[in-house]
Symmetry: C2
Subunit: 178 residues, 2 copies
Amino acid sequence: MTGFQPLKPDPELDLVLERTVDVPRELVWKAWTTREHLMKWFTPVPWKTVDCEIDLRPGGIFRTTMRSPEGEEFPNTGCYLEVIENEKLTWTSALEPGFRPSTADPGPVGYFTAVISLEPHGEGTRYTATAIHTDVASRKAHEEMGFHDGWGKALDQLVEVVKKEMHGRAFIRARGRQ
Amino acid sequence: MTGFQPLKPDPELDLVLERTVDVPRELVWKAWTTREHLMKWFTPVPWKTVDCEIDLRPGGIFRTTMRSPEGEEFPNTGCYLEVIENEKLTWTSALEPGFRPSTADPGPVGYFTAVISLEPHGEGTRYTATAIHTDVASRKAHEEMGFHDGWGKALDQLVEVVKKEMHGRAFIRARGRQ
């Protein structure tokens, strides 16, 4: 009831990717919360996101399927916890949709909770992605799997997709004026 | 973003206690969300609730310590997921405060999520408590530990505490008119 509180990551347990990007936060939000958009950028190439399900409410499903260059598929199912439009998106792999505790094997990283925080920064966005782990070993495993590189590359792809869309819109507007 | 959706329990995995009680839902809500009130009714006698911490927001702590008649103490730490005043209170033992996935040993019941739903019913309240488990074995273990009896007795105690408070208030009002 006391509302949105700033996140204080624990450096022993959490991983943080913080960047400023030159696209507006409404479009970053849209890229994270719309199936068609997310599938275009979510997985660093040459991996692909081949399926995605988004039910954007606390308790709703967030499911993605990633495909390796060799064609192996890796489904992930999580549950949204916080959906604060254009500001904060939180989900966890520790719960299935409807807040049911998960029994899926979480692999070496273990269950984790992810928080995407967006703040306006001039015409752009201050972007903070935080991964919250159970213990030091999980945090280290995620770090060694390439958290910073992977989430950073995905963000680059997100920005590229958003810019293409912005240019597309500008083109349509320009044509409309002809 | 689509807001509050009704819960559809799975009879294989979930346990439900549904009752109508003759106290207003605002006071049932208060009994569930205020430390001083909760400690008076939360644990069926002769057990006691000897400590409680409530940070009433999604991600906030919900911690209680129960003491057996023999003096053994059982602490439980959970995390609130949904806090919709006078309507719905959801928390889970699968997450620690700040949405961090838990590593605490959950015992035979396993991790579970609990939902308290309140609807007005005349001057009283339609009260629904749902416990959401990972699998059939967890649901059965919770049932055999006496879910219906335990949660039912606790609700009786809650109603008693609320009524005492209502009579206290009426007494104070009556004195004020003398």
